[in-house]
């Protein structure tokens, strides 16, 4: 028997009811993620990728099907699944250090241990010089580093990222992509990463899951076999990009037809 997957979604669906209107955000999603895998969800807006992520996070219960982590139904948000939001979601009244230590501190970790732990993660994301700054004093890239460190410091097994670099400029985005891969390779975390950029998905993922709208569903999965570190300007990378791009557009073409 194969090893238990960290995440197993079985026919997961989500329907929102908004004043008599029934909106089907996600239908029949099946996805298995192995521990240590880096999976990107990609698709146009309305394809249910964020909904899927929120169900895994436990922010929304599925209206149909089962969402299992380590074979147990996901019953709500918990520290084993950390979320990194596009709009950061940092606590503005806490310093970088306190934000990163939020989870362990609310679990009641002793002060001395907390300090060592927080220092380690502040250092990991390269914010030592800004450890006592407040979020409003940081750039977008720095805020997102804090958000990532906050989840890692809390010992999350799986990191859920909802277009985390979408609001950043191109240079910062590339840098954070590199840093994220570096952290992922060192920690062997499992990452579920939502993006709308084909290039970002191919650069980061072991596997790209293509989703399509109306109603949101998983259309296809693609394993990315390119060796790491990946070079976005190489012909091989371009070939994969062209292929994936064609598939994305063919899905959309089908929908329009």
């Amino acid at each position: 028997m194969a090893e238990l997957p960290i995440l197993d979604l079985r026919n997961v669906g989500k329907v929102y009811e908004l004043n008599d209107q029934r909106i089907e955000a996600l239908r029949d999603a099946n996805l298995v993620v192995e521990k240590g895998e880096f999976v990107c969800l990609i698709g146009a807006s309305g394809c249910g990728k964020s909904t899927l992520l929120r169900i895994v996070a436990g922010f929304e219960p599925p209206s149909a099907g089962e969402a299992l982590m380590w074979d147990k139904a996901i019953a709500g948000p918990a520290p084993d699944r950390g979320m990194v939001f596009q709009d950061y979601g940092l606590f503005p009244w806490l310093s970088v250090r306190q934000n990163i230590g939020f989870g362990p501190a609310s679990r009641g970790l002793p002060k001395a241990e907390l300090r060592v732990l927080v220092d380690r993660f502040v250092d990991m994301v390269g914010l030592t010089r800004f450890a006592d700054a407040y979020p409003h004093q940081l750039s977008g890239g720095m805020k997102q580093r804090v958000a990532i460190a906050r989840v890692l410091a809390n010992d999350a097994e799986m990191v859920l990222m909802d277009e985390p670099f979408g609001a950043l400029d191109a240079m910062t985005r590339e840098r954070l992509q590199d840093e994220l891969l570096d952290i992922w390779q060192r920690t062997k975390l499992t990452v579920l990463f939502v993006t709308h950029s084909i290039e970002e998905a191919i650069f980061l993922a072991d596997r790209v899951v293509v989703m399509e709208p109306g109603p949101g569903r998983i259309a296809s999965e693609h394993r990315i076999e390119l060796p790491r570190p990946r070079d976005v300007s190489s012909p091989e990378f371009n070939a994969v990009r062209r292929d994936l791009s064609a598939r994305l557009h063919s899905h959309h073409g089908k929908k329009a037809a």
Binding site: A57, G58, F59, G76, P77, A78, P79, R81, G82, M83, F85, D87, G89, L90, F91, P92, W93, L94, S95, F102, G103, S106, R107, R129, F130, A133, Y134, P135, H136, Q137, L138, S139, G141, M142, R150, V151, N154
Partner: protein, 282 residues
């Protein structure tokens, strides 16, 4: 990391030029003095030109003020009594304000967080809100009698609503995202209240406290119309009855200054506690 460099640059600049801070501050003070001085001058000239005989000149008021504060000029019933009246008013203002804060903040947190409490209390409180404090005066005198307890109650009433409403607003406008962030980090239930709701609504609570304290000073004159012998409001009412306009103006000035100092103190506390907030730096 251009942003970090920029941030450091400005921080370094502030530290390296302490002398550079004197002129902007002085300029601010001078600018703030322009309008009051012009008004004072206008008042002085108007009295001098004989436009009114009922209002004393600024110099007269200043003289009465000195007498009111330390005595030795007129030596009447009001000489050297400023501290007594100021103290009496302050106990009512701060007492009423403290009680209002003590009731309104927890109540506001409750109304903001709990649907049932909101359904139970919000309509009633909204209905009572438009009634001006002045309208409560007769009833308050019946309920609490003539004297300081009535004044205390009216100040309480005046400070209560701004604190309550701003607290409710603060609690209700905590970003949903922060609750999600807290719960995925393992903080939920009651802990979330103390670690998220309370700090997140602190800026609004402080806004409410600031408005409340301002209103407490605002209603003190009405509060002391209830027949108390001492207090700045009582002085103003006495001044009116005795046609001693200079006394009325002295009372007004003292209330203005006391209210201003109170406000500065609360702003200082606020800026200290809320230094994380970009909108609380001055």
């Amino acid at each position: 990391m251009s942003a970090s460099v920029a941030a450091e640059g400005s921080a370094g600049e502030k530290k390296s030029r302490p002398g550079g801070m004197v002129w902007p501050r002085l300029k601010a003070v001078l600018l703030a003095l322009v309008v009051p001085l012009a008004l004072l001058l206008g008042w002085h000239l108007a009295v001098k030109a004989g436009m009114t005989r009922l209002i004393p000149s600024p110099a007269d008021v200043a003289e009465y003020m000195v007498d009111f504060a330390v005595g030795g000029i007129w030596d009447d019933a009001f000489s050297a009594t400023l501290h007594i009246h100021l103290f009496a008013s302050m106990t009512r203002v701060y007492g009423g304000f403290a009680l209002a804060a003590l009731v309104a903040v927890p109540l506001g947190l409750l109304i903001g967080r709990n649907e049932k409490v909101r359904a139970l209390l919000d309509p009633f409180l909204q209905l009572m809100r438009p009634i001006p404090v002045t309208a409560w005066l007769p009833l308050s005198m019946i309920l609490f009698g003539l004297g300081p307890r009535s004044a205390f109650f009216l100040v309480f009433l005046g400070a209560f609503y701004p604190i309550l409403l701003n607290t409710v607003f603060g609690v209700r406008s905590v970003e949903k995202r922060l609750f999600e962030a807290a719960s995925m980090l393992g903080c939920s239930g009651t802990a979330q209240f103390f670690r998220v709701v309370l700090p997140a609504s602190l800026p609004s609570i402080f806004t409410g406290l600031r408005l409340g304290l301002g209103l407490a000073w605002f209603v003190i004159v009405v509060g002391e119309m209830t027949g108390v012998p001492q207090g700045l409001g009582a002085v103003i009412m006495d001044g009116r009855t005795l046609s001693r306009t200079e006394l009325v103006i002295c009372g007004m000035i003292v209330i203005g200054i006391a209210g201003f100092i109170s406000d500065r103190i609360i702003v200082a506390i606020m800026n200290r506690l809320l230094r994380w907030s970009p909108s609380h730096h001055g």
